[in-house]
């Protein structure tokens, strides 16, 4: 039999993004020394956690330091005195003999949470009259309040998606974690794919896709505005090589790319660069290329500002001895300007490379999860996807997907369209006390998925609009020899 070593697993390192967990509450934090963290009404430093294995549970000591929690034997009394029902238990709020001050005094003395819970039980006049179930519930509740233990866990899609949905659902368009799971499966996200991802979910969806792909294949992230948001992506702690094949492309250039008019502005730059640019550029168009233009204007102004600042400095330093200093300063500023232009050139180069990747129109799939209306996104981005590939669109609301469905039918080139949502129901499972806890339905968003096919521009699908029949039969058998891993 194959044996794994008993190697303990990854350790908490300085600089990591770690997730603090207490029961069902999660919070992502950077692991930095002497950085005060506030979590679940407690404040502490993470210094002592560094070097421990992820998954370790800690207690917060007075002074705000973390200490690994000792494994303590649960004290089980031999015969638990308990009642049969609550008919004689009066809830007058007076059954607990310890006052707020008493409890505070215990806490200040440094008495451990477990001991405090024990004290509360002993000082409760009604405890032994409660049923066993009620006693259990009481103990659980007190433990939750007084035994403040924190587990430090390694980020993953599961943990981060749960965290975001609970803490900042607005940032992820209320994408619930089960919906995200569906997207990964429906989209057939796997190593080796060339994926197109368009999301405004703080980079969570991108991270989930990257996790599945394990560094294999490539991803082109389409982004609105000036640049992609990858706040959540950085929480995953992916190795650097995962980012080697992560590209980005501005949405504002998509139309020009599709029409063939795409080019990058030629700006005065290093002589050797002009040759490259002339090669790639189709010549200037009337079209306003907003973001790139802005970026270039910005750095040009910055360079100009730096030069004028230098000039100011020069007029102040009239001392002849500073001639050498002045010469060095001039050299430095020229280098700064060159560096900025070099960076600009790098960015432009990447943009051209990414445009070329898109132009191949052979992506293995498309994922859309954004605050924007999905229809225009889908109609353009599908152009970059190869035929016979899956696409998945997430929307917080159903109606835009109804429209998307209709427009896709008109466009053609897609089959097996399916509009769905998932309902999630949690259960309490305890002996003689099992029942559903909570239902989350309607609050997790909706998905529209389908498969691309070769677009036959001759046929129009508008005739089928009026007679929207049952979904076309899905291909039950796919040719085995066409599958490759």
């Amino acid at each position: 039999a194959m044996e794994g070593g008993r190697s303990p697993g990854p350790r908490i390192c300085e600089g990591d993004c770690a997730v603090l967990k207490r029961d069902d509450v999660f919070k992502a934090v950077p692991v930095l020394r002497r950085r005060k963290i506030i979590f679940e009404k407690q404040w502490f430093y993470l210094d002592n956690a560094i070097g421990h294995i992820y998954g370790t549970t800690f207690e917060v000591t007075s002074g705000g330091n973390l200490q690994p929690k000792q494994e303590v034997e649960e004290t089980t009394t031999e015969t638990k005195e308990a009642g049969t029902d609550n008919r004689n238990i009066v809830d007058d709020g007076k059954s607990q003999k310890l006052t707020h001050d008493d409890i505070k005094a215990l806490k200040d003395k440094g008495i451990k949470g477990q001991e405090i819970v024990q004290q509360l039980i002993e000082n409760s006049t009604t405890f032994r009259d409660k049923t066993e179930f009620a006693q259990d519930k009481y103990i659980k509740k007190k433990k939750k309040k007084y035994e403040a233990v924190i587990t430090i866990v390694k980020p993953s899609t599961r943990i981060l998606s749960t965290m975001y949905y609970a803490r900042e659902p607005g940032k992820i368009n209320h994408l619930r974690y089960d919906t995200l799971a569906q997207m990964l499966t429906l989209g057939n996200i796997r190593a080796g794919n060339k994926m197109i991802v368009m999301e405004t979910c703080a980079g969570l969806v991108l991270g989930a896709v990257m996790e599945r792909m394990g560094g294999y294949g490539s991803i082109i992230q389409m982004y609105p505005g000036g640049g992609p948001v990858r706040a959540a992506t950085s929480c995953f702690g992916f190795p650097k090589l995962f980012f080697d094949n992560l590209h980005e492309f501005p949405l504002s250039k998509v139309d020009s790319l599709l029409s063939g008019a795409f080019s990058t502005e030629t700006l005065p730059s290093e002589p050797e660069d002009n040759a490259l640019l002339e090669e790639e550029s189709n010549g200037l168009t009337d079209e306003k290329q907003t973001s790139l233009q802005e970026a270039e204007d910005e750095s040009a102004t910055e360079a100009a500002m730096e030069i004028s600042q230098t000039e100011e400095q020069e007029t102040m330093d009239i001392n002849a001895e500073d001639v050498e200093f002045k010469e060095n300063k001039e050299k430095e500023n020229k280098e700064n300007v060159r560096e900025k232009q070099r960076k600009q050139w790098e960015r432009r180069k990447k943009l051209i490379e990414t445009a070329a990747l898109l132009r191949e129109k052979n992506a293995d799939g498309l994922i859309v999860a954004s605050k924007f209306h999905p229809t225009p996104l889908l109609l353009s981005l599908l152009e970059f996807v190869a035929p016979s590939r899956p696409f998945v669109v997430y929307c917080q609301y159903k109606e835009p997907l109804l429209e998307c469905y209709t427009k896709l039918r008109e466009r053609g080139g897609v089959i097996n369209l399916k509009l769905s949502e998932t309902w999630l129901r949690n259960y309490q499972v305890l002996p003689d006390r099992s029942h559903p806890k909570l239902t989350m339905s309607g609050g997790g968003g909706y998905l529209l998925c389908g498969t691309t096919v070769v677009l036959d521009k001759g046929k129009s699908d508008s005739s089928s609009l009026e007679a929207l029949k049952v979904e076309e039969p899905s291909s039950k058998r796919c040719k085995v020899q066409d599958l490759h891993c």
């Binding site: 190593a191 080796g192 997907l401 769905s420 949690n426």
Partner: protein, 196 residues
């Protein structure tokens, strides 16, 4: 619980190319059929099928699994084996059972074996058909003897756009995501836990 191998294929897809799936099936013919299909599909290098009873003899591996999935009639009997197959820290387990009684026994076993974060849930997939629906406008008669229109006036600009009214036919049209008449209600409960 390999069975048809459907889930196995999905898992292989997910862990390829550097991962591996160890799947156990106690029915000899099913195990053999699964091996055959993995071969045909070109994924046999990513999976090992073992023909044995996982409840009695485990998975054939120890301390290496990142995750274990159980789809068998008596999962509580395999919890101990699942635990030893899982890596030392942070491994995840999921058990799928149609009956709540099975779930209860499994949760108890998980607790006894020291699993944490034990959580049971179920997921229901709701599919919608996109349909254009026409609803008839009821005839509420006329308020007065003159010809002023009453009730829903489709020439009124505020009623333009969607929904669009067809005064000739007296209908209003709109797009709807209509639930299927019969949808899958329940397949099974999913119980997750962590080995920590």
């Amino acid at each position: 619980g390999t069975g048809s191998g459907s889930l196995s294929h999905a898992l292989i897809r997910t862990v390829a190319p550097t991962g591996h799936l160890y799947t156990v099936e106690f029915h000899q013919q099913r195990a053999e059929k699964a091996r055959e299909e993995f071969r045909e599909h070109g994924v046999d290098h990513l999976v090992t099928v073992t023909n044995q009873d996982v409840c009695k003899n485990g998975f054939g591996v120890s301390n290496i699994a990142d995750a274990v999935f159980l789809d068998i009639p008596s999962p509580w009997e395999a919890i101990g084996h699942a635990k030893s197959a899982l890596k030392a820290e942070g491994g995840r387990i999921c058990s799928f059972s149609p009956c709540i009684e099975q779930v209860q026994r499994t949760c108890l076993a998980m607790e006894e074996y020291g699993f944490t974060e034990i959580n049971t849930l179920e997921i229901l997939l709701r599919v919608y058909n996109v349909r254009t629906i026409s609803l008839q406008i009821p005839d509420l008669g006329k308020a007065a003897e003159d010809n002023s229109s009453t009730g829903f006036d489709s020439s009124n600009p505020s009623n333009q756009g969607s929904p669009c009214a067809n005064l000739q036919q007296g209908t209003v049209q709109f797009k709807s995501g209509v639930p299927l008449r019969e949808m899958v209600g329940h397949t099974g409960y999913l119980t997750f836990a962590t080995k920590s």
